[in-house]
């Protein structure tokens, strides 16, 4: 039984979730086009299919809460409020990019939004999240550090060390595992002895739960509940959101290790059309309203591409800048 949406959030908020998911998808698919055209280079890991996790989770967090992620983080940054223009410009390597063209797709950052970075070393964000939570606690701030990571990352030493640490020091960390069942070409049961990832936290006595990561409302509710627990208890909490990436690991990966049948099963669970149907069924939106949202998102992404195209390249001398304070 799906929850009746109006029992969860007001209509405006419900529509905003749709808009954020649609914008994320449009942005990612546009990135794929720009990559094919050679405007975006390097590694490009797209988020298509996983939108319900970033959108639902971000909605469940406070604006003051920190967010950290890995390299598949465009949507997380944009949903948190990063300007799609400056994110696209970053992917193009332009001076107007969110990190001045120095970071690229895998390294978005915007401290004004408490978006504390995309990290490309698997597992790098765990201890940094713990440190941010510690700083918040130390300074008497009410913030949580929300740490997003994949199913593949849980076999790094930093995962275990950080879980232990966060619990030991009673730190407000929300761990969110985006289990899309693959780390590049390796399926989760081939890399983890205990493939049910949320169960791993019992070794650290951290409460955890598993949630349907294709259901934006389920993710929202789980994160909302978890953050209340964290704020109340001051202890960490762990969420495993099961999801699926519709594309390969990166643009270089044709994803031949997944069967077409498996792909179809998950495609049928695509959070966008499914959530749209829910909004229509419960008369929260009309088709025209959704169309208007979709048109607006497309225009935003088009404007982002145009901005990126027209932006200047960074000057060579900038390579010496911003290394030391």
């Amino acid at each position: 039984m799906q929850t009746r949406l109006r029992m969860v959030l007001p209509d405006q908020e419900l529509l905003k979730l749709y808009e954020q998911m649609f914008l994320s998808r449009e942005f990612e698919e546009s990135c794929a086009e720009q990559y094919a055209k050679g405007h975006i280079t390097g590694f490009l890991h797209l988020y298509s299919g996983q939108e319900a996790v970033a959108v639902g989770a971000t909605a469940g967090l406070h604006k003051d809460d920190y967010i950290l992620s890995a390299y598949r983080e465009h949507a997380q940054a944009i949903v948190r409020g990063a300007d799609p223009k400056r994110v696209m410009a970053e992917l193009f390597g332009k001076a107007t990019g969110i990190c001045k063209g120095k970071g690229g797709s895998m390294h978005l950052f915007d401290p004004s939004l408490n978006f504390m970075g995309g990290y490309a070393i698997v597992g790098g964000q765990f201890p940094i999240s713990v440190g941010l939570a510690f700083a918040a606690q130390y300074r008497g701030e009410e913030r949580i550090a929300a740490c997003f990571f994949g199913d593949g990352a849980v076999n790094q030493g930093t995962f275990h060390e950080s879980l232990n640490w966060a619990q030991l020091w009673h730190l407000p960390v929300l761990f969110v595992c985006e289990n899309n069942f693959y780390g590049i070409g390796t399926e989760v049961h081939r890399s983890s002895a205990l493939a049910s990832i949320h169960k791993r936290t019992c070794g650290y006595d951290i409460p955890s739960e598993k949630v349907d990561g294709m259901d934006v409302i389920a993710v929202y509710k789980a994160v909302k509940y978890a953050t209340e627990k964290v704020r109340e208890s001051g202890h960490p909490y762990f969420i495993e959101a099961t999801t699926y990436r519709f594309r390969g690991h990166s643009m270089a990966d044709p994803a031949k290790y997944r069967s077409a049948a498996e792909h179809e099963v998950w495609k049928a669970r695509d959070p966008l059309p499914n959530y749209a149907r829910q909004l229509l069924d419960e008369s929260i939106a009309t088709r025209e309203q959704l169309d208007a949202i979709e048109t607006r998102c497309r225009a935003t992404v088009e404007a982002a591409v145009k901005f990126a195209e027209e932006s200047p390249w960074p000057e060579d001398s900038t390579v010496w800048e911003d290394i030391y304070v």
């Binding site: 280079t41 590694f43 063209g101 390294h107 070393i121 290790y257 060579d316």
Partner: protein
């Protein structure tokens, strides 16, 4: 001889050594089913099966630690770290364990293991994925460090590495995988560890390179030949042990040197080489040793500025002209 890519030459070396010695096995992230992030291990799982071609969790320090243990236990592991950048997560097992164990235990054991690591910059992968860490490994005694520039050396050196009874760090450049060259078919073709190669003969300037830097040095040398400057290009191949003899023999002939290093300049291997040259033949030099290095900056993503951080054929050409004209 047959023409093949650097990637296929490495692949052939792995296959030949696995056929040659049943104690050789391959492990790493996505090396089996996915056939490697850079497809160097293509076909290995099909030919040798799951026992000998093993996918691992994303646990770099333990990939190397398990390799150390397996080597101590009588196997000959060939570990792949998906890229050299991730070796930094394994530095504990590499530096504190692998490189120390034989000496620390009084020579009572040995570790016949190889760690393959693709790396280098130039693909717009940003600061965390574009590093050239060769000097980090060279700095540490107790292991060999190899870095082939050509498909033939890729094959011959990897085979030697696998057969060698010392731990070997084997560096591969991501931008060389598709480069082609003639490779000996002989399954007993080996390239000796510790021997540099004169990749081009000349007598006015010695250009020392390794890995992709050798390829750029050769391009520069070709252009300079057209301008009447004769360069000898020494391809190090083996960074540790470093073949000082071959370098010095060339410098004695030319009296001028340009060392090209992709790594950061500070404490880069060019400094070590310059120092060895000064020790060996200072009085024969007609100019100070000139270094062309990666800039001392975290690698930026943007292709526009990434280029300025990595040595280019053009910067090497300019450096050679500088030493020729007394502009150091």
């Amino acid at each position: 001889m047959s023409e093949m890519t650097y990637r296929d030459a490495l692949n052939l070396a792995l296959k030949e050594e696995m056929r040659h010695d049943p104690s050789v096995f391959v492990l790493g992230e996505d090396v089996a089913l996915y056939e490697g992030s850079f497809k160097v291990t293509r076909g290995l799982l099909a030919e040798f099966g799951e026992e000998r071609v093993r996918d691992t969790p994303i646990s770099e320090n333990t990939i190397i630690g398990v390799s150390v243990g397996a080597a101590m236990g009588g196997l000959r592991p060939v570990a792949e770290l998906m890229t050299v950048n991730f070796a930094l997560l394994a530095m504990d097992q590499i530096v504190n364990h692998m490189a120390k164990i034989r000496s620390m235990f009084g020579g009572q054991t040995f570790l016949p293991m190889t760690i393959r690591m693709p790396g280098g910059g130039g693909s717009q992968l940003g600061a965390q994925h574009s590093q050239s860490l060769e000097t980090y490994f060279m700095h540490c005694p107790g292991m060999h460090v190899l870095y082939p520039a050509t498909p033939a050396d890729a094959k011959g050196l990897l085979k030697s590495a696998i057969r060698d009874n010392n731990p070997v760090v084997f560096l591969e450049h991501e931008l060389l995988y598709n480069s082609k060259g003639e490779v000996p078919e002989d399954p007993e073709f080996l390239v000796p560890i510790g021997k540099a190669r004169v990749a081009r003969s000349g007598d006015q300037v010695t250009v020392v390179g390794y890995g992709r830097m050798t390829i750029l040095a050769l391009q520069a040398a070709e252009e300079l030949a057209g301008e009447g400057v004769s360069c000898e290009v020494v391809d190090l191949r083996s960074l540790a042990p470093l073949d000082t003899e071959t370098i010095v023999a060339s410098v004695k002939k030319s009296g001028r040197v340009v060392v090209v290093e992709e790594c950061w300049r500070t404490c880069g291997l060019g400094a070590e080489i310059a120092s060895r040259i000064y020790d060996a033949c200072f009085d024969l030099l007609q100019a100070p040793v000139k270094r062309v290095s990666g800039l001392d900056v975290p690698m930026p993503y943007s292709r526009k500025i990434e280029k300025t951080c990595i040595p280019q054929a053009e910067t090497i050409r300019q450096a050679v002209k500088d030493v020729m004209s007394g502009r150091y």
